[in-house]
């Protein structure tokens, strides 16, 4: 079994900010049903570009759920500029670390956030839905390459 930190388990078992967010004015979506993980992030941003509320819907493993929950907690109260600097490492750190095979689950949080911010600012991100397939498998591929390197 994965060596999940207590914080990960806590955020998986009692996730914060679950569900659609009434009055959300920024939505970021990443992943798909096909690739096995997906995240829909809802933000309520005020006129000063401050995130006053956030929520999520996630389909994925325990660390995907925990990462989503952590992300919403991290960014609540931030300005969009500050939120834009949040990385998947910040999410993992907030959770007391993720197993290295599961780091990509936090990448999904970062990706959805980027899209939500773009959505608010009316910027088109030239990515097809389902892009996460590639990101997901990218990480996996890297891990495989890594493992191969380690072995030989």
């Amino acid at each position: 079994m994965w060596n999940y930190s207590e914080k990960v388990m806590e955020h998986f078992l009692k996730p914060k900010n679950v569900g659609e967010l009434e009055g959300a004015n920024a939505i970021g979506e990443t992943g798909s049903l096909n690739c096995g993980d997906a995240l829909k992030l809802y933000l309520k941003v005020n006129e000063n570009e401050r995130i006053i509320d956030a929520s999520f819907m996630t389909f994925g493993c325990a660390s995907a759920v925990a990462s989503s929950s952590a992300l919403t907690e991290i960014i609540k109260g931030m300005t969009l500029d500050d939120a834009a600097k949040v990385t998947n490492d910040d999410i993992a750190d907030y959770l007391g670390g993720l197993p290295k095979e599961k780091m990509h689950c936090s990448v999904m949080g970062q990706a959805a956030l980027k899209k939500a911010i773009a959505d608010f600012r009316g910027i088109q991100i030239l990515e097809k839905p389902g892009e996460m397939i590639c990101e997901c498998f990218d990480v996996t591929d890297l891990e495989i390459i890594d493992a191969v390197k380690n072995n030989g």
Binding site: M1, P15, L33, G36, A38, F59, G60, C136, T140
Partner: protein
């Protein structure tokens, strides 16, 4: 704790531990040594060989002890390759265990072999047409598993073996999952080679069997000393061999139980889950399945999350073959069956043993109902009681 992952591995039966312990503690001699101390061990190893043979209706001389199911599978293919060095084609199925499947990929990628992977339909049933048409003079071996580890779907081995043998081609079957759940009779089935693994039938891990029909020109996979009549090098794993003998004796006696009590409990679990959790479906041919296996998909939720919530309740199940867990893709078996992604990702395999009880099934259902509900509530693909 509720352990319902018996297709992954099983609890070692108390009787089996009792049987093997003296051969760890006291009678540690090499069975082939020249002293009386070794004789005790040797006799017991012979008894175990007879017990295993009896279990599958083989002759004791046709039993080769190996270290696991994987070794048995590898050894079977290796024997065919060595016996027919000029033949460069192998037939297997798309749903074989990695012990056959990955080996086939290796032979294809590195050793110049062509492999036909016979596909299955949506219920996991073999496409016999493809299989039979693929057979040629270049085919060294056909390997078809007796029953699938993920779905429990049973293949008609006797029927396939007959067709394959008609062409003079060697036929191997991986009976690692069939054994102990349904009757296995190598003579009636007419197979040339057959693999077993101890830890799937309440023996310890690290012991397996390759049955090799008398008359088959076998060459060893592990090359070393003269053990196993020169068919498998390496000092005999005496304690585990003795354990496996006992486990086979017990497994034989338990097969009726598997097909009554265990099947009923499995069916009870299946019915309750299908009835009480919406958007739930069974993977594999329900009419022709191992009595202990239930592969079931919950739409719009992800398997690992389900496992984690079950783990909180002390329930041990798996989300696919133990070998593929940790990977992101649905298993190759579910992919081959074209199970839709929405339920493939949310598939859980329950695999029972005779140690499981009906009360445990109730606990599982009562754990899963709220668990699936909670996960669906946070799933972006679930809305108003259905998949979106």
């Amino acid at each position: 704790m509720i352990y319902i992952d018996n297709n992954a591995t099983t609890r070692v039966a108390d009787e089996v531990i009792q049987e093997m312990l003296p051969y760890l503690e006291q009678f540690y001699g090499n069975p082939s040594s020249m002293y009386g101390f070794a004789d005790t061990v040797n006799k017991k190893v012979q008894q175990a060989r007879a017990q295993v043979a009896e279990f599958i209706n083989a002759d004791p001389g046709e039993i080769i002890f190996t270290s696991c199911g994987t070794e048995s599978d590898n050894a079977a293919i290796n024997a065919a390759i060595n016996a027919f060095p000029q033949k460069k084609h192998i037939i297997a199925t798309e749903v074989e265990h990695p012990a056959i499947r990955s080996l086939c990929f290796h032979l294809q990628d590195k050793k110049g072999y062509k492999v036909t992977f016979v596909p299955v339909d949506k219920k996991g049933r073999l496409d016999f047409d493809t299989l039979y048409k693929a057979m040629s003079d270049d085919t060294a071996i056909v390997s078809v598993m007796w029953a699938n580890n993920e779905t429990g779907v049973i293949f008609p081995i006797a029927e396939i073996a007959e067709k394959v043998k008609e062409k003079g081609i060697w036929f191997h079957t991986d009976a690692v999952q069939g054994a102990g759940k349904i009757p296995i009779d190598v003579k009636a089935a007419g197979v040339d080679m057959l693999s077993l693994s101890g830890h799937k039938i309440h023996a310890p891990k690290g012991i397996g069997v390759l049955y090799v029909r008398k008359g088959i020109k076998f060459s060893p996979f592990l090359i070393g000393g003269h053990q196993e009549k020169g068919r498998r090098g390496g000092t005999e794993n005496t304690a585990s061999i003795i354990a496996l003998g006992k486990a086979c004796e017990l497994a034989k006696a338990n097969i009726p139980l598997m097909n009554t009590q265990v099947r009923e409990i499995r069916d009870y679990l299946e019915t309750r889950l299908l009835d009480e959790i919406p958007a739930t479906s069974v993977n594999g041919d329900r009419g022709n399945r191992l009595p202990n296996t239930l592969s079931i998909g919950f739409d719009a939720v992800e398997g690992e999350s389900i496992l984690m919530l079950m783990n909180q309740a002390g329930i041990c199940a798996s989300s696919g073959s133990a070998c593929t867990s940790g990977s992101l893709d649905p298993s190759h078996v579910l992919m081959a069956m074209q199970v839709p992604f929405k339920s493939a990702h949310g598939t859980i395999r329950f695999s029972l043993s005779h140690y499981n009880t009906k009360a445990e099934m109730d606990t599982i259902v009562e754990t899963l109902i709220p668990a699936i509900d909670r996960l669906r509530q946070m799933s972006p693909f679930w809305k108003d009681g259905k998949v979106v």
